[in-house]
Subunit: 293 residues, 6 copies
């Protein structure tokens, strides 16, 4: 169950409205790595969790915080749009180039659809989609996904920090940067703890018996480009992070396998299957099939 | 530039066709973590790379391999559909329940749209979308995204391994499992190397001056659920993975900030802004505005 | 701010697992009118509300309840998948047609992607999209949208009720049916109250001066089909619900306006603009334009 | 069957071209509540109607009108783009800030993809999707959806009216505003008639026996936020709109139910199911399963 | 303007309901090449046409017919669902494997969402999207798109013809096959007429001065794969269809150009730009930039 | 298998950065007819090909070239963004209107998400989707789709050519124009060769026995609009391109068929099926059904 309190975790008030920035800020609300994504992602991971206890409590605890971040950003965007201009008169543009920037840089749907309000979309107006969510039931995979989400998220907030000099906006972003710092550290720590406790390990999923895979290729870097420098990385030699082998560098991909013969599906799929002559055969086969029915 | 050779990296031929499995296998071809995703993801990361040398060579080298995996899976699916039934006759279902399973379990678009061929979609027929791709320009973030993609990918291949007993299919999956083992290890190693070389560090992006964030919240676990076990994890106390602080556990979220006053946008947005009386005022303001023009 | 409590508003446990039904139930979790839609819709309406007080409190109060419904349904789906079969062996299908139904009727992504877990998608596997959300800033419009959402939602739950005879599942659905009964009534009452208090009225938006619209067409039913029975409805005669006029029935649409002359854009758009002769002219104009640069 | 006449229901010609406005106008053509939505929605509702006569005739009659509105708006947009600039030269921007506004505010796809033409997208360029359509087979639910669509539509047209001062554009919008006035009234009247005639009633679907739902929760407002004002609304006390009960206000949600125990799916899903020790067990179980095959 | 008549162009009544086939038939209603696509495509091409007369009349004349096809297919699907089963009882499956096929093979949304009705989606339930539509303003390009659409459409209808033996369904498909035969021929004829009249020509757009393109590559087949047979086709030698040159076969792609040096964007984008040492420089630059503000 | 070489087929370096143009160029990278589309389209056509030899070799040979075009365009966009501004300071806009144009005209996600990099999206930021891909298994249909794709692609590149005067950009576009010239010619030639060799013919699919279609409608132009000029085209009289008949012009559509009676699905779908009285009957039927269980 979720309960709502009419407060914000942090102040969400700009010093002054800025409709152009209100569009940009949509990215971290409704974008691929926006707050809706992490709120839903941690939610579905918790609801699908098979393991009660500290890991699931962690997901619950953070998931609800992220829903509050959704609210903070929506509130901030709404405040940034408080004085959004309704339209544009040509004269105004002539007098003040800033108006031109506003016309071009704002999200028309924040005006036309939401009446100067926040929307569940990214900075290009793409609606948020659940295709962004990851919840696989395997915690080491998912915590790695979470660490990535918090890295991408903090990176975007940092970029947005440089795109405004409004102290009120920056104050909120500074708070979000801090929380993303925590959440990056936390997921990395949690992923490590899964390994330390032997609950899961590399390679994911560690419960699949590795002997069943083609182990001769399991630790080879195979170079399908003509760059030579990949051989210099630690992924080209030395022990592997899963602690199970040594990396090997293969500069030239070994010869491949011949392709299997193309299929010849039922002629009633009307695919192009034939050489001269085969065509009549296919047409005849279809005719026969229809006749038989 | 890309060059194609009419060979496959590994054999892609099932022992016998299986139209139901052909649908399932679409997931690792055209799904969120399918081969199209990683091929495109490593491609865009390489094309946007700002740093020539081993990291970019790594991206190029793997990206082209993944394009070959797209081809192998499309080929395998096409082979699995080689004898796909065109339709269904009621009598056949009565005689053989397997027919019923095939009717229900196949992807109708593989038949109707592709004529017994592979499609760039997932196992539910959702078209692949570039919304799955991550390429931020920050390599530590992106290599973490890549590690996650290979974990989710290997997990899905492992699940698919158990969903068939066709030796030909399993042979290809065993190869893909091995490559995913390598790729998981490789991205983790590459991410670590970025840190070891001081090219990037935690928290991402490390070039943002941490003093600008609200540091009092940077390492606090704040519990927004009522579970008590999150305090037991290593994310609740002890040193943080970025090596910069200690985790702190906060069981009760501190009081929040009051919400800012709602905005009152231009009445020409026709939002519901008023209490009784305010309504007439808004209508009047719109009328006046229209009159003035 | 949102807080989570590790309880459910109602029991969410089936009497026994049912992987086919788990797919169907996705509709009211992640479909167009599923619980994610209403949770997000009431959220964005509240965050964009310009009017503090009872209407916004209503949105906050219900929005958090709906997040809890998201959790209940995800939990139920996860329980229904508790014993989901991994794959299918041909022999089993032969022995038991039920297995065939399960193969065909289950969502492969619940297995391959979520490892027997719930997903933020509908019953055909389409990811939830924020394109479903309505939050316009005008409360009479939005509360009507909400009434519709609760009607469609209750309708779908009722249909799903008939698709199972599992007492545990039905128990949860019976609870959701009751809540949808309340929410239908509530939004209709709230919409009426907006009108009674003079905060908003029909036609929406009532703050637009109706004298500016083409009032001669404001209350006419114009029949663009050849059915004759539409004239029998109360929308064809008598007073209009907004209390401002009488309906009029127009059986034959009045003659239209001639279409404006087609445009002839800049030849550098290379549109097909010409009759014989015009083609050379267009090509010449492009050449000239390029020459001038 | 549909027949086309080369006339428009209303004049669709701007006084002068305006490429920036041409983008904004896309919203009511190809957006969530644009004319394509209502044309398709009324179409599918009519084709799925189970009840011949006045209600279906109404749907047919309006559906064809809306297809004509699609055409009018596409024509207007095309006219607005008649002189759309091909590109931009830096010098021109320096001389005239209006050019800057045009560069920023136009839809690049109207130029690059359609060659100065209208597109089936919204004002942010999102392609129209049938995910916007509602056609449930239940007319009271669907007519409520229609009333909402016409409200949102009229609201957006009103906002667009204020964003231009072109008399030709406003003339068309004034016509659309009038038709939306009619259509709001009409769907509300039709919904009421369904109830008056006893064809359908609240709560939707009224054919579901209400005794089967958990009636103790059917008319309770349960407050999941900490606002106190929701108790003041007519949804908190007094008779319910369905005429079947009285509203009740519940300030504190009753205690919930404990969550069911997490599931432990087949180990071959490789979910994280275990505490220390359980991991080896899972890996062993997978190995055994593979061995047995 | 569009007018509707309550008749169908052809009979749309199956001999008996078939809920599994009702799902498959969705493909040619709401799929990539379904009737909604061509109706909208011809509509937008006509509304954007710059050239009045026979070509535009052709688009208008066919566009309205296709809207009627949308209606016929929706009607047929609705009829096929007339007796759709609500749910499934386990006993029934045991007794009759056909029930199992129905469970697995039907579209759950036709039942849950539309109440046994047609939907604007394809056979996998993907909502129709305007991303399928082509309307470029160039008629030779667009008529080629139309020819393709009618080919893909007729191909899918032919496949669907073989997937049923219901005489009523086949009767409608036989009519659609005939219309697609006409429409293929018609668009090919219209494309040819554009060329014959000199209104447009190959290569599209013919108004672009070909001298501006890199003509040395304009008629070369360059072989980026290792197959040798492409040299045998008429695209490898002999006159080109545009009548302007001769094909040339290039077996080995000429050496390429070196890649440009990677970019080094503003450090405030926090991209990974540096080698050791550069990292500190970037962090310093960000700090300086923030300090200066 | 695919191999990558660190070279570009053509130089991809602008004379100077241009962030506004970088957004526009996205169209031919990640749009409906961008390079990702053709690369994937030719790929899937080759992997699903049933006919080895010159046609499949053609698909392989071109497919790999197009992947290289994806890379060239991504590289060019990245270069164009090399000096992209991070944000905007109001003072700068006042001094230089060009800044206003840049603010409005750039893609915010190229900055916020990709850190001044290319993205797999179109010029409005819509992610590329596999819904753009055509691969039916029938080569005559697919080669026509390919001819169209190359026409639309060349048209868009030509438009983009006029939208910049940067010599470096134009140099790359001039190369792409040339390749599109080749590819248009090539697919037209290949389509013709299929017919000449008797492998496939018009109407597609030619293996369907035309006698089964309603031949009386197979070559009729039926005019559903009131324009008279369509009768003047070569699609209205004379021999048909498939060489099998003569066109016929039908000015007035023949009378249609009556619509079938509406369906009356199981009352448990709760559709609106009844006239007064029928409602009680439906509710009773539902009650009975629930009672019986």
């Amino acid at each position: 169950m979720f309960f709502h309190r009419q407060e914000l975790q942090h102040r969400a008030k700009p010093d002054k409205p800025d409709a152009v920035y209100a569009r940009k800020l949509q990215e971290v609300l409704g974008g691929q790595y926006g707050e809706i994504t992490v709120a839903m992602q941690y939610g579905f991971q918790s609801w699908n969790a098979h393991l009660p206890g500290k890991y699931r409590d962690l997901l619950y605890g953070i998931g609800a915080e992220e829903m509050g971040h959704v609210e903070m950003l929506a509130t901030m965007i709404s405040q940034l749009l408080g004085d959004a201009p309704v339209g544009a008169v040509e004269g105004a543009v002539q007098d003040d180039p800033t108006v031109a920037a506003i016309i071009g840089g704002t999200d028309p749907q924040q005006a036309i659809v939401a009446g100067a309000g926040a929307r569940p979309v990214d900075s290009n107006g793409n609606p948020w989609t659940a295709g962004y969510v990851t919840a696989s039931g395997n915690m080491l995979a998912d915590f790695t996904a979470n660490a990535n989400a918090e890295m991408q998220g903090r990176l975007q907030v940092a970029r947005l920090y440089h795109m405004t000099d409004d102290a009120g906006v920056r104050d909120l972003l500074a708070f979000l940067l801090a929380r993303d710092t925590m959440h990056q550290n936390q997921w990395i720590a949690a992923a490590q703890e899964l390994r330390d406790e032997g609950v899961e390990d590399l390679p994911v999923p560690s419960t699949f018996p590795q002997g069943k895979e083609h182990t001769e290729s399991s630790y080879q870097y195979i170079n399908f480009s003509d760059g030579q420098h990949a051989s210099e990385g630690r992924w080209a030699s030395g022990p592997t992070p899963d602690g199970k082998s040594e990396f090997e560098y293969v500069d030239t991909p070994p010869p491949g396998e011949p392709m299997p013969a193309p299929t010849t599906p039922d002629p009633r799929f009307h695919g192009t299957t034939g050489k001269p002559g085969a065509f009549e055969k296919a047409a005849g086969a279809v005719k026969d099939a229809l006749h038989r029915e």
